[in-house]
Amino acid sequence: MLLLPGLFLILFFYVPLANLLREGLIHDGALSLEFVKKILTDDYFQHVILFTLWQALLSTLASIVLGLPLAYVLAHYDFPLKRAVRSLTIVPFVLPAITVALGFALLFGRNGYLNRFLMGLWGLSEPPLPIMYSLTGIVLAHAFYNAPIIARTVHAAWERLDPRYEESARALGASRFSVFKDVTLPLILPGLLSGAALVFIFCFLSFPIVLSVGGGRFSTIEVEIYTRVVTMLDPRFLNYKIGAALALVGLLLSLGMTYVYLRLQGSFARQTEQLRPRPTVPLFAGVKDLLRPQKLLIWLYVLVSLILFVGPMLAIVADSLWEETALGGRWTLRWYAYIFTPQYEAFLGDSPLRAVLNSLAFGVGATLLALPLGVIFAYVIVRTRWGGRRLLDTLLMAPLATSSIVLAFAFLRAFNAPPFRLVGTATAVIIAHAVIIFPFIVRALVPVLENLDVKLIESARSFGASRLRALREIELPLVAPGLLAGAVFAFALSLGEMSATLMLARPGLNTIPVAVYRFLSQHSLGAPSAMSAVMIVVSGVAFIVLERFGEKALKL
């Protein structure tokens, strides 16, 4: 049973990747560690590697600081549209980095809304918040993407935490803060750490954000790989080989982190308890309540997160409705009319509407392909009892530790000749997306399958249920929440994927993020914002629908 998906992974991941990385180990036709040695000893590459780790660490911390309060609010309070808000927390995740960079520039830039507002408020001549084009900007943009991941994983852990632990502590005299420090935090820590490890990996591999928000003065391993492989052509392909060696070093580092992540997730899964749902209280409880110190802190957080998370998106939407004119500017819908005119655009290769349809089709196709892969691998991992299980797990998760840019290079190299001349076909895009997203389905399923009592299935079968029936009536309903969560996240990743799609796609196969990228390279400034706004709306609606109706269909 492992044969088919195993073959798939070998054919579409390990072989192309190994083929690319091999370049970094060959010097003058012989096996050599020359390039790896160069990377590890050259102070420039050391700087790049250390900076990569440093910014990933800071970004992870920022994501925790900004994600934890959201997890707290979701776990403790009830408010109107709570489910929708929860669904919408994935939206930042699908936004292409250039969109986020644009939104950040519009909001936090030197001439952005925030700085202009503060300058007007305090009568300053210089912008007070130097957020953009700095490490701060990179870290905040990473937090924009990843704080929701922290919030979602911690929320899941928090919901499973019996509130009576905290109540016992309070009755024993502990203040709210002590309760959090001594009881809540240690108990949700495994969930928090597993989320943090995932975020660290994402930030470690992040590439377009560093390039766009930080700018060229900041270089990470991935940026370095990109510039070496894509632009610094030399007849002996030395830069290409250095890029491959960098990819190898980066992959080893991120595989190490993946291993840590899997261990943490394992301990998290063991700890989960099936308990009564955590009681929630209304967030809005009368006028007096609004001013309690604790609520004031929450409002402060809401304000900060509105600025940080909603602000850039609103700035993009505002930008998409604005037209600069000789007299200053005016509100307009022309950018939307423009992007939705179903006409051929040379820079897209086809119509923008087609990009929306492609995005959804690739997302669905890749998710459908990734689902069985994920399910089978999750089963294999859970059922494997021999010692090398964690190693097998790490190997299967290797796509998680591989940046999409490296994957795209590997694809360009491997599938440009028969028998697999895939470059430039929808197949290549869908397969690449499936390889990128299936680890998340595995991750969502493994803990659920581990908790699934084998006796349940056995007892169902002892009552005469066929294997299929036991599957349908016992396993599926129990596994469904994990499956749904994984599928939604996987779909989100596919929707937002840009780097690999841009390199693999040909005209006619553009997705929304690629279209945004294309519009951005145009002289007109409203169109990319309009296309980004379309992305925000399409993905937001998709997530609400997926989570709401997915839950209904699975009878959760």
Binding site: V48, R110, F218, T231, G424, A426, T427, A505, R506, Q522
Partner: protein
């Protein structure tokens, strides 16, 4: 469970193979002309007009523009594709500084005036390549561009640009990923020399607000008011008079774009026709308005407004191409080390 999942994988796999064979069949028809080109040409260049008009004149032919990156990235893609089994590209459009690279790899067919009759209309000053593997079709000048409503006191020279009053006032492009950024780097090397340019860049760093990956991202930040100066083209005020060129040391760095035919093409005849069409007066007269560049065809008329708005620098400069070919990798490496580590 496993058996069913495996079945689904199998079915999807079959579906993919089917869809792939479908798209291959489409690709194999031979009347399709694939053009590899840098992004901005298709984004706001004349690509749409060229495609429509060329297809109308050559019934049954389909033009496909592939633009997955800046000029340099397209060249690298072409090289890597040829190395790993072949490229679908027939025609390549790119920047002049890529020519030495292209020559090193022997990517393009040499062309004569009998292949491309319109070649004889191209100004002789632009014919940088004696073998005519890349034929110039447009040119322009890289300069700084400033926001006339924001910047009142202008730096006239490269050294003035490093003064504290201009700190954080300039947006540039990454020399490794953008041909505009690359040209700006070459311009500083022209003025400060093969070695001295690094010292100049050290002093220039405080002036730079950000180094963006491409021209378009940089220009968008510039027009959004993030900084009053950006590296761009001398013809920019033809697009918006508010933005004016700033000729440091009275110079502008020459940038020339050329078209070539990929050696492995199956459509040499169609490709030649395409190049000829690109050089025709009809297309060439579209270039000022779309690419905001000067046409290479000396017979093409410039728009009336260009007489005043298009600035031609008194001293157009350019490093010899063989010098660029010899040193470029080192320069880029040194430059990247400097801007990233500050040392």
């Amino acid at each position: 469970m496993l058996r069913h999942a495996a079945l689904v994988v199998l079915l999807i796999g079959l579906g993919l193979v089917w869809s792939q064979s479908f798209s291959l069949a489409q690709a194999g028809e031979g009347s399709k002309l694939v053009v590899y080109v840098y992004e901005s040409f298709v984004s706001w260049g004349p690509a749409k007009f060229i495609k429509t008009e060329f297809e109308r004149r050559n019934p049954g032919v389909e033009v496909e523009f592939v633009a997955t990156g800046p000029s340099r990235a397209m060249l690298a893609r072409l090289v890597q594709e040829i190395q790993s089994g072949g490229t679908p590209a027939d025609v390549f459009l790119g920047e002049i500084n890529d020519v030495p690279k292209a020559k090193q790899f022997g990517l393009f067919l040499p062309l004569t005036e009998s292949d491309v009759p319109n070649l004889r209309t191209v100004s002789k000053s632009l014919l940088f390549d004696p073998e005519r593997t890349l034929i110039p079709y447009e040119h322009g000048f890289i300069t700084l561009v400033y926001d006339s409503e924001k910047l009142k006191s202008l730096p006239e020279t490269f050294s003035a640009l490093t003064q504290p009053q201009y700190h954080k006032q300039l947006i540039i492009q990454d020399a490794r990923t953008s041909s505009v950024g690359h040209a700006f780097l070459l311009w500083t090397i022209y003025n400060y020399g093969n070695v001295g340019y690094l010292d100049y860049w050290k002093q220039l760093l405080p002036t730079i607000l950000t180094i963006q990956p491409g021209w378009s991202a940089a220009y968008k930040l510039f027009t959004k008011g993030e900084a009053p100066m950006v590296v761009s083209f001398s013809t920019d005020s033809c697009f918006d008079p508010r933005y004016k060129p700033l000729l440091l040391n009275n110079q502008g760095y020459r940038t020339i774009f050329g078209a070539g035919i990929v050696r492995t093409t199956d459509n040499p005849k169609l490709s030649r026709a395409f190049l000829d069409f690109l050089l025709s007066v009809e297309v060439q007269e579209k270039l000022p308005d779309t690419e905001v560049m000067f046409p290479a065809n000396s017979q093409a008329k410039l728009p009336e407004t260009w007489r005043t708005c298009a600035v031609i620098p008194p001293n157009p400069v350019m490093l010899p191409l063989d010098m660029v070919a010899e040193n470029d990798d080192r320069w880029l490496d040194e430059w990247a080390r400097l801007v990233v580590t500050g040392r």
